[in-house]
Symmetry: C3
Subunit: 327 residues, 3 copies
Amino acid sequence: MINFVRENFFPMKNIYSSKNICEILIENIKQERITNNFKILDISSLNSIKENSILFLDRKAVLSKLNYDNVLLITDDQNTFNNREFKNIIFVKNLSESWNIIINNIYSHEDETSYEDEFVVSNNSYISKYAKIDSSAKIFNNCVIGKGVEIGKNCIIKNNVVIKNCLIKNNVIICDNTSIGMTGFGFEFKKRGSTFLNPQIGVVIIDDNVHLGSSCTIDRGKIDFTYIGKNSMIDNLVHIAHNVYIGENACIAAQTGISGSVVIGNNVTVGGKVGFAGHIKIGNNVVVAARSGVTKDIKDNSIIAGFPAIDINRWKKSIIRQRKNGH
Amino acid sequence: MINFVRENFFPMKNIYSSKNICEILIENIKQERITNNFKILDISSLNSIKENSILFLDRKAVLSKLNYDNVLLITDDQNTFNNREFKNIIFVKNLSESWNIIINNIYSHEDETSYEDEFVVSNNSYISKYAKIDSSAKIFNNCVIGKGVEIGKNCIIKNNVVIKNCLIKNNVIICDNTSIGMTGFGFEFKKRGSTFLNPQIGVVIIDDNVHLGSSCTIDRGKIDFTYIGKNSMIDNLVHIAHNVYIGENACIAAQTGISGSVVIGNNVTVGGKVGFAGHIKIGNNVVVAARSGVTKDIKDNSIIAGFPAIDINRWKKSIIRQRKNGH
Amino acid sequence: MINFVRENFFPMKNIYSSKNICEILIENIKQERITNNFKILDISSLNSIKENSILFLDRKAVLSKLNYDNVLLITDDQNTFNNREFKNIIFVKNLSESWNIIINNIYSHEDETSYEDEFVVSNNSYISKYAKIDSSAKIFNNCVIGKGVEIGKNCIIKNNVVIKNCLIKNNVIICDNTSIGMTGFGFEFKKRGSTFLNPQIGVVIIDDNVHLGSSCTIDRGKIDFTYIGKNSMIDNLVHIAHNVYIGENACIAAQTGISGSVVIGNNVTVGGKVGFAGHIKIGNNVVVAARSGVTKDIKDNSIIAGFPAIDINRWKKSIIRQRKNGH
């Protein structure tokens, strides 16, 4: 069971009630129905709906239950979510803007200039006073370990590594110049610029025995987490976007990029320079040849290659055919 | 209007006259004609021809005007530039070597061991005494901010970021482990090695509200600048080479690489792992699918994919055809 | 002649005799034959077989000579290496595990928490007390230079660079945020996780006049070295894996990745985003077009493109054919 305490990373600036939320969104509200007034203490995702929270719903969201007493739903889609059973719902003009307004009012985060952390110098690295590092872990030089970060037993964090908003279990090795826990690349597509960046208030969780190469970039989850499963081996210059989930025993070669919200099963092997499109699901025991571009869900035990990636034997035949034609 | 003061970044070691330049080039000169003796105070590019400067001309250069009183032309091409109207011109044996000799004599730069900068430690980062950072900007740990750099209002520079030879406007966010303002990959193709590296004496200009991801590399211009337009969103591990110009509202996904002197219009969207060949021009409102390799100029409003990148519908059809053949 | 002293980088914890090795491998041994008892003072590779050493042999290994008096052979392949002439040989159950047990017992290395180095702060960087840096070399801020590293005359090491387990000759320039000398991505494919990582006890050797870009990652050799030849120009975000050998005068553009044990000849030019599969050999004077995926040995003087990379003219024709079909 994976869990984390959001406030350890993103301290709450204000505690609002469900009715207060209407007040701060005021300009953005089309319609509202607040049956219960309750304190907002967390943000929910569809995967993890919590008491006393807000749940943002885009038009693709599917809710398993309708009547939450103390969950405030916020959506811009009056057609999909017009059910009278929703006790607490606000229909807004713009969902991305509403996210920004609410999160910026509730949580402190690194994308605002007022964000603060306090560091001590330890073994030539800056360690937050609010980080917990096991005494058996080894941290090399010029690292930055931010607020709320936990690092488990026998971990080795090499030089110039930045770790923020992250829980690291035991025996994890992280190589030089890698960055973990950064703001994901999330914003409303039509409103660009740093001022419209969606604050990201999730974390990265790195499980036991993971090996992470050099100059990798692992963005944190938007609400929940980016996860790297036990015993996974990640090579250099790999990009792992926000909300990605990688199962146990992954092997991912250099310069591969995994787009947001991709889910990868157990025992998956990925060659170098592979790209994964966002929001796809890769089964267990899948092998992805180097340089593939994976654009769709892939079944368990598949071996794939090419762009768009297909069964490796079909891909090999198509290459042979292309080369034979005209000779 | 974009401008910068070269000497803030590259202090002048010597002030030469146009006739002095002949003396330092001596071995390399084939022919010369110096009508006016004037002080050399800057280096011009074809885009920005300045008084009291030197302008280097390769055989592809097109000059709009011929008779500059106090611009010294230097070229290795006696056929193209044999016009008697040129008042001050030196024909050299090797243009790249002449560049190196002249620039190394005039300007101090980071690719010589004698280069100096002076730093103060501020909030756990090294800030040059000759940098100007707005008091509202926030700089995290282990950064290096070099000589001449200016950082505007409300900027956030995260951890282990290196910023040299760069002007940054307001509300810019730069994520961890990114490097900005490095020497571009410029050298005479036939003479390799660090000792033949062409000194690069331009800068990087990053306009308002840009968001730059982690572990990106943005090289500075050779003479003028590499430019990233307002509201542009750049993801992680993106490479932007020297002299690239990116318009407003760009969205560039992770692991994309943009070769030298590419010009990108406004409102361009680029998927992950895209590559752009050097010296091409991408129109406004262009969308480039992930993993494309763009090799030619692209018209406004195009949607392209593949390698070499073509109209996305043509590309999709060609993929379907390849896969159908033989079944 | 390239050479290095392993102990300068990886201090020996214990000196074992050939018979002691049997004792530490005990559980893993299938059969053994130790004719001579001698001290183990180094680890050999097939390219460099040393006196008083251990040589690990996988089933593909080809030995030029059979009867070494004081070399201890260790292999998991009783069929291939069943020759009675081998004087000192241990047949083990698992070669990768045996490597780990032996190397971890003999050598101190950075992938164990007990590893120690001692640093002094010099010009805003952490320099190991056991590094040798020529007084004419220039090191910028926030660098880490590890134990045993040697840096030659007139080198320039820019900001936030990590250099470990590396010998750097003269006039080398290394740009910001690059990492050199990291543990290669080596482990038994079926046993994943940091606890099964094969210790790597080789180095990186960077020859005269090399220029290395920003955010590159150069892993060290497993036993011998990763080598970058004289005058080679390497752009940004390039990945060079363990045991790669790059000849003189290479030019390698941004975001290229070179897999383990690739050998590249002299005067090779490689475009951006190229990938090389592991263990292949690229001849002299080869040109590889941008975005190629090179999967096989390539002859001298070839110009190649595509994936799998072929002669560039064949590749161009195949592209034209693909695009014409169906029109």
